[in-house]
Amino acid sequence: MISNDEVKRLASLARIELTEKETETFAKDMGAILTYVDAVKAVSGAEIEDKGINLKNVLRDDVVREDKSYTEAILKNAPNKSGEYIAVKKIIEGKGNK
């Protein structure tokens, strides 16, 4: 039901590298899982859509509480840092800049 190529495409969207064996296993597993969850497609839910979901937002004011109280602890967890920043490899590569 789900091809190996489809699993590869999804894995790439989800930023996970998969081995060939994993790709094959997941394609098989997903077929079985999707067959199982297919039951929900039979739900029309027309009467639900009209009413909407009965929830409301709970909001609070956006206020600054404690300045830098977690900075050190958070930075300590970062694999790479530069001063008070978390360091990452360059994301945008300009022309002739390689």
Binding site: I2, V7, L10, A11, L13, A14, R15, I16, E17, L18, E22, T25, F26, D29, M30, A32, I33, L34, Y36, V37, D38, A39, V40, K41, V43, S44, G45, I48, E49, I53, N57, V58, L59, R60, Y70, A73, I74, K76, N77, A78, P79, N80, I86, V88, K89, K90, I91
Partner: protein, 441 residues
């Protein structure tokens, strides 16, 4: 006994069971301990599932991808317990990111069921359940997204409770499915579970979904509903165990009434759409850049791919990919949209039934604890272990698993659980019925 001796005794026991990923050298308690007034929780030892943050300590969520991560703050539920005087003795094992029903998906090896070490303790909070069942601690915290407290409680023969969605703050709980996750207690008695719940419940500014009403309608109709056909397909002795539990409730003065819940069976399919969808989004944060494992690569993208390939286990990858699929363009409404509509139908079905009953009863699990490796090759088989527990998460309602005796498998008596579900914020109903069922004063 001195703290050191207790610690040694726990370490020894842990070698057999592997309930804990870490037993702290010194239990962690309030720095202001002597100032804490009289409180029944004061001095109580408690274990916490290792997907909750405790400042300055490791938090792994059972995953290699959180290698070296030190929590920068403390989860609200844990803070409330510390403020009431409890001692946190250690971090317990779980299926990676709470994805599983057996702890076999832990990145640090499985936990064994203390009643029969050839069998799983259930999951995902298997470590917490085993720690309480084996007597290593009196109580423990777990988290329940689709049955992760109640199912291991049933497998290990103890009490496990999932509160109403939002009743306990999720601040500091590493997220699986944010619209389903709830923190709750494991204990040997309902009285202990109630004490823990009363301590950790309530509105928390740091979790916008937290809420608990001050006054609750405790008008108790002494009627228990049993969904029609719920025992269909169960083994004879499991069905008999459930019927005996119902008989017991009858003898305590409760009327047992069959209720029609034709959409209940949609709960597990709905769950395996909503939960992977939310998980795929929640787990995007594990990228090797901000914390935890980081595998270096040629580019940022390459680092993401490599870190997540090495850091996540198979079940986590499977669910992230499944979640990505049900949310991807072209399938979004077909799966995720349909699942949300089906969820509303299930919620309404529960609401209608609760007009006439104070609780709904089912077995907690369709079988007693299974053997290691029995279901690892077939994800759908493993998912079906949660068939009776998932509906409460989909409806957002509270539910409790109570030990209900044993069935014999291969010469061993294995425990089963009796599950009661109540309407939103009906925890008091569950505690009242639970104490009556177990004969607690």
């Amino acid at each position: 006994m001195k703290a050191k001796e207790i610690n040694k005794k726990m370490e020894d026991k842990n070698k057999d069971i592997h309930a804990f990923l870490e037993i702290f050298k010194q239990p962690i308690k309030s720095t202001n301990f002597s100032a804490i007034g009289e409180n029944p929780l004061k001095g109580m030892e408690i274990a916490i599932k290792d997907n909750m943050c405790l400042e300055g300590e490791r938090a792994t969520a059972g995953s290699q991808i959180l290698e070296g991560y030190i929590a920068p703050y403390t989860a609200t539920a844990i803070q409330k317990l510390i403020d009431s005087g409890v001692s946190i003795v250690g971090r317990t094992n779980l299926d990676e990111f709470a994805m599983g029903s057996s702890t076999e998906n832990s990145g640090f090896g499985p936990t064994k069921n203390p009643i029969d070490t050839t069998r799983v303790p259930g999951g995902s909070s298997g470590g917490s359940a085993a720690a309480v069942a084996s007597g290593m601690v009196r109580v423990a915290l777990g988290s329940d997204t689709g049955g992760s407290i109640r199912q291991p409680a049933a497998f290990c023969g103890i009490v496990g409770m999932k509160p109403t969605y939002g009743a306990v703050s999720r601040y500091g709980l590493i997220a699986l499915g944010s619209s389903l996750d709830q923190i709750g207690p494991f204990a040997k008695t309902v009285t202990d579970a109630e004490m823990i719940f009363n301590c950790i419940k309530g509105k928390d500014e740091k979790d916008a979904t937290s809420y608990y009403p001050e006054n609750n309608d405790t008008n108790l109709k002494k009627v228990i509903g049993v969904p029609k056909g719920i025992t269909k397909g169960l083994e004879e002795d499991v069905e008999e165990n459930f019927n005996n539990a119902l008989e017991k409730m009858k003898s305590l003065g409760y009327e047992i009434k069959e209720v029609e819940m034709p959409n209940l069976s949609l709960s597990l399919p709905v769950y395996y759409i909503i939960q992977p969808a939310e998980a795929s989004s929640n787990l995007a944060r594990f990228d090797g850049i901000r914390y935890g494992l980081s595998v270096s690569g040629e580019s940022v993208l390459d680092e993401y791919l490599k870190t997540r390939e090495v850091g996540f286990g198979a079940e986590v990858k499977r669910r992230i990919i499944l979640g990505t699929y049900v949310l991807s363009s072209g399938y979004h409404d077909e799966y995720y949209g349909s699942a949300l509509r089906a969820q509303e139908i299930i919620k309404n079905e529960f609401k209608n039934v609760f007009k006439d009953v104070c609780a709904i009863a089912t077995p907690t699990t369709p079988t007693p604890a299974f053997k290691f490796g029995e279901k690892t090759g077939n994800p759908v088989e493993m998912y079906l272990a949660d068939i009776f527990t998932v509906p409460a998460n989909i409806a957002g309602i509270p539910a409790i698993s109570l030990p209900s005796g044993f069935v014999n498998r291969e010469g061993k008596d294995l425990p089963l659980g009796f599950q009661l579900m109540a309407r939103d914020y009906g925890e008091d109903v569950l505690f009242t019925l639970g104490k009556e069922f177990l004969g607690e004063k």
